[in-house]
């Protein structure tokens, strides 16, 4: 965050609040200054299993058209990126980012013994577990645990812009916060009796390892985060032309938080509907348009505000789909998939690695060559300054996209 915005933030606090509200907010504000780096990530979760092969299309490959006679995208419609690969026609927004060197495409991302159930596969991606391992905390949650160790937890370090908090953002001791409209959280809490209960707890309450302490502690943190987000919502309103979709509104919310100087390190936003077993083409194109158009405006917005270089966006889906189309002009659950990384300071924009080898499949599925946890490890280590072993339990190769 630049100096003038930080000053503005400070002034606006004192200008717009009664003295009663100041101490809490300042507590959160001091946490902001304790962060050396303002770097943050935005994770876009494509729920349902996005068909990666019709997202980034190998349009020179006959195998692609042989295996997908109905849903294979004709060359004429594809947005060419190079001689062999191009994007789904819905992704014009991403094509522009690609041309500007702000998009990196990582192909063949997966893990050993892939899982085809939506729920289980999503668990694996969110907890960063092995495929036969059940974890009850998410990888972003464990990042929060490590970040907040020994200091009061700050839920809004990790924010999901949705009603319900995904497993990914739940740590052992610290959990992120989920809100579709973050500033409204405070309005609902403020009108109740909770403020009084919290004040009394701070003075007289027991602070131990019991569940009752955990509940009070969570309530205190929630109230303080809600208040912080409410104050923040007065600072920056975006007038960029986000698409009129809920995903567009969610990205606008994230941009407003970032550009208001929120200390949030991880933003998380889901986009649903990718489970295209039948009639895939129009449905997927529409969803990808929502994604691409939204991200393009988001990047423009951040760039204008000087916050793009400290922001990294990653998209993922719980699995890719089978290479061969099914009888209903759709695709069934598959395995390895591509990941998009968007940012202003990519070390390797364009194609990070070669696309999938359609001549070398495993039971009709793409083989993975990059473990998804290598992508996480890279972001943790190189971007958020966190030793990946602390979060992922073991070390993974760091990639060079950043």
């Amino acid at each position: 965050m630049n100096r003038s915005r930080r000053d503005f933030l400070k002034h606006s606090v004192f200008a717009s609040t009664g003295t009663l509200m100041v101490p809490n907010f300042l507590k959160a504000f001091s946490a902001l200054e304790s962060f050396e780096s303002p770097k943050r990530i935005v994770i876009v979760q494509l729920s349902g299993g996005n068909d990666g092969l019709n997202t980034v299309v190998p349009f020179r490959n006959d195998l692609y058209y042989n295996l997908r006679p109905k849903i294979g995208l004709p060359k004429s419609k594809i947005l060419g990126l190079n001689d062999e690969m191009g994007l789904n026609p819905g992704l014009l927004g991403l094509k522009r980012l690609y041309d500007d060197g702000m998009l990196s495409i990582i192909n063949n991302v997966g893990y050993p013994n892939p899982e085809r159930s939506h729920f289980r596969a999503m668990d694996i991606w969110q907890t960063a577990s092995d495929s036969d391992e059940y974890l009850t905390t998410g990888w972003v949650g464990r990042f929060l645990d490590a970040t907040c160790e020994g200091v009061p937890a700050v839920p809004h370090y990790a924010m999901e812009i949705d009603y319900v908090l995904d497993m990914a953002l739940k740590g052992q001791d610290t959990k992120g916060i989920a809100a579709l409209v973050p500033h409204k959280l405070f309005l609902t809490l403020r009108d109740g009796y909770i403020g009084k209960i919290i004040e009394d707890y701070k003075k007289n309450g027991k602070k131990d390892a019991s569940n009752v302490s955990y509940l009070y502690k969570t309530m205190v943190e929630t109230y303080s985060s809600a208040e912080y987000l409410y104050r923040l919502s007065k600072i920056y309103k975006s007038n960029f032309p986000y698409p009129a979709t809920s995903f567009g509104r969610q990205l606008r919310t994230i941009s407003e938080l970032i550009n208001s100087g929120s200390v949030t390190k991880v933003y998380y936003v889901p986009l649903q509907g990718f489970d295209t077993h039948n009639g895939q083409q129009p449905r997927q194109e529409k969803l990808l348009k929502t994604l691409g158009d939204g991200l393009k405006v988001f990047v423009d917005d951040l760039k204008k505000n000087g916050t793009l270089d400290d922001t990294l966006v990653m998209t993922f889906s719980e699995f890719g789909r089978r290479v061969k189309e099914n009888a209903s002009a759709g695709t069934d659950h598959g395995t390895a998939n591509n990941i998009f990384v968007v940012g202003g300071k990519l070390r390797k924009p364009g194609f990070y690695n070669a696309g999938p080898d359609l001549a070398n499949l495993e039971n009709g599925d793409l083989k993975f060559s990059v473990d998804f946890r290598e992508v996480y490890a890279t972001m943790l280590n190189k971007w958020l300054g966190m030793d990946e072993e602390v979060v992922l339990g073991k070390s993974f190769t760091n990639l060079s996209f950043i």
């Binding site: 036969d132 569940n211 509940l215 969570t218």
Partner: protein, 436 residues
């Protein structure tokens, strides 16, 4: 051991879904044995959950289903999935057999599975209801032959030529022994023994002998042409299975945070000796003096379903309409018949994050709209106005609060009903209301 009000509330919150105030007060001073016996005798006669049309949804599994009909039926299966979810929440809230329903809910989380066909889920649920207080051996055999489970863990695809180890692995890791008590070789060989375990188009269990692996296998030191039932028997011979199940029951009903190893060891010994009598295990827990210890009471975080059904039983509120009820389950973070994965719902603190806690704090006020406060207030008509805050707090909260904090904010000049209403609304906002 004779129980006081708080201990009786404890018993009903942990074995069921909470009870109305007069129901509790009528039983003050009675012994744990008497009340637990009452819970068991109530559970003898029970009603099945029956909201899915059998003939129609059996048809969903027919491979020769005409294409047009398949599309309609698939769409309906999504609608009826929600019908089933809501129907069970309502049943849990209003049940006359709380202990049986609570056990069903426990096994629903233990043998977590789901299916696209609502009928197989309903069937499984009724099987758990029927056997949940009986013998664990019967239960384990039944779940291993249950269509919903067989399909969920891929055993319908488990064939001699292409074994699928999913069921065999979870059977040992999550359903019986726990990690570290079997080898990878045991998983491989158990999977072979279960090859061909599937179900037919009438949704009945059958073994497809064409794809069953008849070869000699070694499982946990036993060698022979082992079938699925042999595997289950060998697993049940292991004392570790009794230990694993006892531990899980203890964590669910007693305390998920701290475990008394002496208690576990003595409970699991009797459980094993009884030949896996679940009812006996449950009875032993709820009649033990340690269950009524202050260290145990009011320490557990209510699951979303406990929270929701508790609202109905504590306040006599009507459950919301179907659409709202689905939304509430979603926002609270627990949807029945949709466990997050095969390991079930992580209980305890996992339920609570900033968003769910804020939601729990404001949800009661929404559920109260349209509530008959005169009816609720009438239960406290024998209580002096000045005593109301302490009395109602003692009923609604199992974790004691500073009542004077509450009292100083109340308008004692208001009508008794209004005062009671104000007290109740404020109490639901205390974090302590999340505990039971």
């Amino acid at each position: 051991m004779n129980l006081n009000q708080r201990q009786i509330q404890h018993l009903y919150l942990r074995t069921g879904f909470g009870m109305p105030y007069p129901y509790i007060m009528d039983r003050v001073g009675k012994s744990a044995e008497t009340l637990v016996d009452e819970l068991f005798s109530q559970s003898d006669k029970f009603e099945y959950l029956k909201v899915i049309e059998r003939k129609r949804f059996t048809y969903l599994n027919h491979s020769d289903l005409p294409k047009e009909y398949r599309a309609t039926l698939s769409r309906d299966s999504l609608i009826y999935r929600d019908v089933l979810r809501n129907a069970w929440v309502r049943k849990l809230a209003k049940t006359d057999t709380p202990l049986r329903e609570r056990m069903t809910l426990f096994w629903h989380g233990h043998f977590a599975s789901r299916d696209l066909n609502p009928l197989t889920m309903e069937d499984q649920n009724n099987m758990l209801r029927e056997k949940g207080l009986g013998n664990f051996r019967d239960l384990l055999f039944a779940i291993s032959k249950d269509p919903c489970m067989l399909r969920y863990l891929g055993n319908t695809l488990n064939r001699e030529k292409s074994p699928n180890e999913n069921f065999a692995r979870e059977l040992m890791e999550l359903f019986t022994l726990g990690r570290g008590h079997y080898t990878e070789q045991d998983v491989k060989n158990a999977a072979k023994a279960f090859t061909g375990w599937t179900f037919n188009s009438k949704l009945e269990f059958e073994i497809n002998s064409y794809v069953h692996d008849d070869s000699e296998k070694t499982f946990m030191g036993v060698t022979g042409n082992l079938g699925g039932e042999d595997i289950l028997n060998i697993i049940l011979e292991k004392k570790q299975t009794a230990n694993f199940i006892t531990r899980k029951v203890y964590k669910y009903f007693v305390n998920p945070e701290t475990i008394d190893e002496n208690v576990i060891s003595s409970l699991s010994d009797s459980f094993y000796k009884s030949g896996y009598d679940i009812g006996k295990l449950i009875k032993q827990i709820f009649t033990s003096p340690w269950f009524y210890d202050e260290k145990i009471i009011g320490q557990q975080i209510k699951s979303p379903i406990q929270f929701l059904t508790g609202m109905h039983n504590l306040f006599l509120i009507d459950m919301p309409d179907d659409k709202t009820l689905m939304g509430v389950q979603k926002d609270l973070g627990q949807i029945l018949f949709a466990p997050p994965n095969v390991s079930g719902w992580p209980e305890g603190r996992e339920w609570i994050d900033s968003s769910t806690l804020a939601y729990r704090a404001k949800l009661p006020t929404q559920l109260f709209s349209g509530m008959d406060w005169n009816n609720f207030a009438s239960r406290f008509r024998n209580v002096e106005k000045a005593d109301l805050p302490a009395v109602i707090a003692g009923y609604l909260l199992q974790s004691p609060i500073n009542v004077s904090l509450l009292s100083e904010d109340l308008n004692f000049k208001a009508s008794t009903t209004d005062l009671i209403r104000e007290i109740a609304i404020k109490l639901t906002q205390f974090p302590d209301f999340q505990l039971c």
